[in-house]
C-alpha cells in the first residue's frame, strides 16, 4: 500500500501514460462494425468513421498502429463511400463532410490515398460550398466553421484545394471572429475552443494566419486553463480532456504553447486515464471513450511527452504522415508539370 502523500507518486499507476492498456482498449474497436452488440454502439453508429480515425491516430502516436486490423478497416472505410464521392459515418449513413475527412485521414495514416479517386471526393466537397464561402456539412445544409476546416484539410490531403474557392472560405471564417479574438460556429456565435481549432486550422492550411489577432486570441486560449490544470472550452465551463487538443493545437500553431502550464495539464490528462480497462475520459474517474483517449494522447504528443510520435497541430495527423502527404502532392504536381 502506498503511503499517503503529495506529488506524482500519489497518482500511482496514473502517473505515466498506460500505453499497453490504451492499445488494448482501442484495439477492441478494430472491427467495431461486427463484434459489438452493445446499445452504445448502435447510438454511435453515425460517427464510427471518426471514431476509427481517433482510434487509429492514437495507436499511431503510441507506435501501435500495427495492432489494428488494417485490411478489414480499409475494406470497411471504402464500403462507406457513396457514389457521389463522399463518405458516411457508417455503411448505413449518408455522406457527410465530417466522415469524408475522417475517411481520407484514415487512408493517409495507412498510406493508401491511392485507393480513392481524389477528383471525385473533391467534387463532393466543392459541391458543399455556399456562395458566402461557408460549407454545409452535407446535403441537409447545416452550416458550421467545422465544415470549412473539414473541406480544406480533406482537399489539402488530396492535393485538390484548387477545387474550392479558398479566399471566400477565408472570408467566412473572418466573419466568425469575435471581440475576444476567438471564433464561433457562424458569425456572431460565442467563441468556443472546439470551433477555434477548426478556424485556426483552416487559416493555417490556407496560409492566412495574419487574420488572427494573435496575442488577444492566445490570451483567451490560455485563460482556458483552470486550477485543475485541465482546459475548458468557454469561460466558466468545466475542464475537459478534449480541449487539451483543441486549445493546445491552436497555441502550437501560433507558437504560444509555452503560455500555459504544461506540467499541470500533463498531470490532469494522465489523471483521466482508466488504469484498469484503458482509455481516457473527459475528467478524472469518468467513463473513458475513444474520443477523449485520442485527444488526451494527442495533447500529450503536442507537449512532447516521451515515446509518443509527434502530431501535426494543423493536420491532426502524425508529423511523419503529413510529410509523406506533402511529398506525394509535390510529386504529383511536378509530374503534371505545374
Amino acid at each position: 500500500m502506498k503511503a499517503a502523500g503529495t506529488g506524482p507518486a500519489e497518482a500511482g499507476p496514473r502517473s505515466t501514460l498506460l500505453v499497453d492498456k490504451h492499445a488494448t482498449y482501442i484495439k477492441s474497436f478494430s472491427r467495431l462494425w461486427d463484434t459489438p452488440d452493445k446499445l452504445e454502439f448502435v447510438a454511435t453508429e453515425h460517427f464510427w468513421m471518426s471514431g476509427m480515425y481517433w482510434g487509429l491516430s492514437a495507436m499511431y502516436l503510441m507506435g501501435r498502429l500495427g495492432d489494428m486490423d488494417r485490411d478489414a478497416i480499409l475494406g470497411w472505410v471504402m464500403r462507406c463511400q457513396h457514389t457521389n464521392g463522399g463518405f458516411g459515418g457508417s455503411e448505413r449513413n449518408d455522406p457527410h463532410l465530417l466522415y469524408t475527412l475522417s475517411a481520407v485521414q484514415i487512408l493517409a495514416l495507412y498510406d493508401r490515398l491511392d485507393d480513392v479517386d481524389a477528383d471525385k471526393v473533391a467534387a463532393y466537397v466543392a459541391g458543399l460550398q455556399r456562395p458566402d464561402g461557408s460549407f454545409a456539412g452535407d446535403a441537409w445544409g447545416e452550416i458550421d466553421t467545422r465544415f470549412t476546416y473539414c473541406a480544406l484539410l480533406c482537399l489539402s490531403i488530396l492535393g485538390r484545394t484548387a477545387a474550392i474557392n479558398v479566399p471566400s472560405a477565408l472570408d467566412f471564417i473572418a466573419k466568425c471572429k469575435n471581440f475576444d479574438g476567438g471564433f464561433g460556429c457562424t458569425p456572431g456565435n460565442e467563441s468556443h475552443a472546439g470551433q477555434v481549432f477548426t478556424c485556426i486550422g483552416a487559416l493555417s492550411l490556407a496560409n492566412a494566419l495574419h487574420l488572427v489577432d494573435r496575442d488577444l486570441f492566445c490570451w483567451w486560449l490560455c485563460e482556458r486553463q483552470t486550477k485543475s490544470g485541465g482546459l475548458n472550452g468557454r469561460p466558466e465551463k468545466l475542464q475537459d480532456v478534449c480541449y487539451s487538443w483543441w486549445c493546445l493545437s491552436c497555441l502550437s500553431i501560433l507558437g504560444r504553447l509555452h503560455w500555459i502550464d504544461r506540467s499541470a495539464l500533463t498531470t490532469f490528462i494522465l489523471d483521466c486515464q482508466d488504469e484498469e480497462d484503458g482509455g481516457i475520459s473527459d475528467r478524472p474517474d469518468d467513463m473513458a471513450d475513444v474520443y477523449h483517449t485520442f485527444f488526451g494522447i494527442a495533447g500529450l504528443s503536442l507537449m512532447g511527452y516521451p515515446n509518443l510520435a509527434a502530431i501535426d497541430p494543423t493536420w491532426a495527423l502524425p508529423v511523419e504522415v503529413v510529410e509523406r502527404i506533402k511529398r506525394r502532392n509535390e510529386a504529383a504536381a511536378s509530374a503534371s508539370g505545374k
Binding site: 472491427r31 462494425w33 461486427d34 459489438p36 452488440d37 454502439f41 448502435v42 447510438a43 453508429e45 453515425h46 460517427f47 458516411g88 459515418g89 455503411e91 448505413r92 449513413n93 449518408d94 457527410h96 456539412g137 452535407d138 446535403a139 441537409w140 445544409g141 447545416e142 469575435n178 471581440f179 475576444d180 464561433g184 460556429c185 457562424t186 456572431g188 456565435n189 460565442e190 467563441s191 468556443h192 496575442d215 488577444l216 492566445c218 490570451w219 483567451w220 490560455c222 485563460e223 486553463q225 486550477k227 468557454r234 469561460p235 466558466e236 465551463k237 504560444r256 509555452h258 503560455w259 500555459i260 502550464d261 499541470a264
Partner: protein
Amino acid sequence: MSGGGAAAAAAGPLPYSRRPEWADVTPVSLPAAEKVVAIQYTAEHAEALGYWRAVLQSGELSGRVLALTADMIRLNQADYTAWRVRWLCVQQLGADALGPELDFTHGVMLENAKNYQLWNHRRLVAGAIGPSCAAREDAFTREAIIFDEKNYHAWAHRQAVVKITGLWEAELAFADEFIGRDVRNNTAWNQRMFVWKAMGQEARLRLQGGGDDAGWLRSELEYIAAAVQKAPRNESPWRYLTGLFASLEPWASSPRSLSRCAEVHTLCCEALNDCPSCGPAYDVLALFYEGQAALSAAQADTAAAAATVAPGPAQAGVQVVLAGRVAATIMACELAQAALDEASVADPMRTPYWLHRQRGFNDVVALATGVLRSA
C-alpha cells in the same frame, strides 16, 4: 401468465408489418454477407430499419415516411440521414407540416437539448415560418436555456431567429436577464455584444433615447462596472469591455480608443480596490497604459518632426513639448510594466503570457529616448 405477455405486446407499438399504410412496401433486409457482421439491433429497431431502407431506395417523401423518420430519430437522435429525409418530407408536405415540427423538435429537445441535428431542423422550420415564429422560438429557446444557461445551440438559434424577426430590443433584454441571473454567463455577454453590433450605431443611440456615443459608452461602462463588482475575477465583463472598444463604432476605427477613456482607468482601479489580486483588472490596466505609451510616443514623433523644421526662436518650445511627450511615454511604459508584474503575482499560472506582454516596453522606451536625443 401468457395473457400478461399478450397485453404487454399490445401496449407496444404496432409492428410495421401489421400497419395497413405500409402494406405495399416490402422491407429491405441487409444482404446475407453483411448480416453476419451487422450489429444487433432490437427487434423493433431491426423491423423499422427494413422499411427505412426500402424508402431510402424508393426515394419516397410522404406523411408515412415522415412518421418513420420519427421512429428512426427516436432510436438515434443524431441519425443525420433520418433528419435530412424528414426535412425533405416536410417540404414536400407543404406549410401545414411546419407547425407539427415545432412539437416534434420540442419533444426531442426535452430528451437532449445539445443535439446538433435538432437545432438545424428547428432553424429550417423557423426560417420557413418567417417572422411570425417569434413567440414560439422565444419560448422554445428559453426553456432550453433555463435548463442549461450556456446551451450553445439555443443561443445561436436565437441569433438566427432575431435576424428573421428583427426584435433586437427584446434580444437585448433577454441577454440582460441572463446576465442578471448569472453574471458569469459568457454566452449571454456574447449575445449582448452580438445585438449591439448587429443593431449598428444609429439604432443603438435611438434605443438609448437619443443621447450621443459618449453617453451610451458611459452607461455601458456602468453596466460593466456593476458586473465586475459582483465578481471581479470573472473574465466575461473584462473581455466585453476590451471587445467593445475594439469592435463597436466609433471606437473601433479610432486607434487606442480604450486608452483615451479615463473611465476605463477608474473601473480598473475600483476593481483593484475591492479585490487587490484581480488578474484581469491588471490585464486591462496594462492595456490602458500600453495604449497611452503608444499615443505619447506618436505625439513625441510628431514633436520631433516639428523640431527639425521649427525656426530658431520656436525651437525651445518644441523641445519642451517633445521632452514632455517622451517622459509621458516612459512613465506609461513603467506603469504598464508594474501592472503586468502584479498580474503575474495574481495569476502565476499564466506567467509566460505576462512576460510576453512586457517584452516590447524596453524597445518603446529606447525608441522614445532616442527620439529625444536625435532631435
